[in-house]
């Protein structure tokens, strides 16, 4: 198995507050990793470090063996190969859905307008937003906006897509449509790192789950491991809290 992402001993602090304290893990080709843990555990910071939106204090991140944390790295080139889906969607407000998706292939990958449109349209089809391609973000629901956010990442054909709590800004009835799209692309073999508390999603597609607390990886394992036999006190406690909030972590989302 080829390693797509290697995270090597990442340390990061804001002022006196240590957010990440020596995080290391690998992500293989086609793997889906779910990162979860209490808020403030450093999950979102970790994702931002991986594509260098937040440069780490120490440590190294490799993308297919190439260091992205190297000060001499061509950041724009490497970032183009790492998709990022934001909690708050962050769509470009002045662009229609189709242009939100095609602007990356056009400006960053250097495709001409027609090719970029073609790719963007295919990406919108994948997230079932092709009927909405001429709408502005402000005219769409949160779930629709997030699906366009996902299409924007897919269109770049990245090596890996990072999801930063993609459903936590959504109303409950809109979460399903976004998770379904994520399931679809996971099934196609997309390499993904997903920060989420959607345990149903984790159970359905994740190859490995990483439980973080206070800036360290406390426990890792398969979904079965976590749902049947979690070892650490903190993981047991946190999973219990999630259960109280959302009910049993059933595979509520059906794989088609």
């Amino acid at each position: 198995m080829t390693k797509v992402i290697e995270v090597r001993d990442i340390w990061q602090s804001y002022d006196d507050l240590e957010v990440l304290k020596g995080i290391s893990f690998d992500v293989n080709e086609g793997e889906v990793k779910v990162v979860f843990g209490p808020s403030g555990s450093g999950k979102s910071t970790l994702l931002r470090v991986i594509n260098m939106l937040t440069p780490p204090d120490r440590g190294e991140v490799l993308l297919r063996g190439e260091s992205i944390t190297d000060p001499n790295a061509n950041l724009s080139k490497l970032r183009a190969r790492i998709g990022f889906v934001f909690q708050n969607f962050n769509l470009f407000a002045h662009l229609r859905a189709i242009d939100n998706v095609s602007i990356g292939p056009r400006l960053v990958l250097g495709l001409d307008k027609e090719e970029a449109h073609e790719i963007a349209f295919q990406a919108l089809e994948k997230v079932r937003m092709n009927d909405w391609s001429h709408h502005y973000p402000a005219e769409l629901s949160g779930g629709q906006q997030q699906r366009i956010g996902i299409a924007r990442s897919i269109a770049m054909s990245p090596d890996v897509i990072l999801f930063d709590e993609p459903t936590s800004a959504l109303d409950p009835e809109l979460i399903g449509e976004v998770l379904q799209v994520m399931l679809d692309i996971a099934k196609e073999g997309t390499t993904m790192i997903v920060v989420t508390h959607e345990m149903g999603f984790a159970r359905a597609v994740s190859d490995e789950m990483i439980f973080m607390d206070h800036g360290v990886i406390v426990e890792t394992g398969t979904p079965q491991h976590f749902f049947q036999n979690p070892q650490s006190e903190r993981a047991i406690d946190f999973l219990h809290k999630l259960e109280v909030l959302y009910g049993q972590a059933e595979a509520e989302i059906e794989l088609e």
């Binding site: 594509n51 970032r79 990022f84 769509l91 407000a93 990356g104």
Partner: protein, 210 residues
Amino acid sequence: MTLALTLLSLAIGFVVGILLAFMRVYGPIELQLIANGYEKIFRGIPLLVLLFIFGAALLSSFMWVGSLFGALFLAGVLALALRSAAYQSELFRGSIMSVDTGQIMAARSMGMTEMQATRHIVLPQALRLSLPGWTNEYAVVIKDSSLVSAIGVSEILYNASAFFITYPALFLGIILVVAIIYFIFTYPVTKYGGESMKKRLRQHGLGGGQ
């Protein structure tokens, strides 16, 4: 002449204003200080005083402009434009800063360079956001261009004064006509800026009230 003064001043003010705004938002500290100083100075001096300063300065070396009239006209344009640039830079700075940082992060995360993100994501939105304020700046400049009559440039008010000096009894009538002319030139622009833009901005999710 009033329109020429206004449009020229606004155009120069626009270019200089955007440059200043960029210096203040993206520039190194030295450029920020220069731009801030410029803005404070030109916002702190009354237009009439600026007009006299530029008038005197250009008249003292008016040879290179070609004529007395040219020198005075240029002084009028410079005073209006450079003052407007200070206000416009404040306007653009505000709208550049109010573009959602999340969108800039999204642009960078997909591999856009800082230049590309600024050119394709920040600027188009900032310019749209600044349009309502910019129509206000147009109204201010066209009205303040009447002050240029004080240094003898023959814009509307200056021409009107030639009439009421000849017919002092008609002063109120003439000045009312002048007022109406200014109103006609400002109303369509401020109305468009106020209403139509509000609708379009809302569509783009850029605010704009109810």
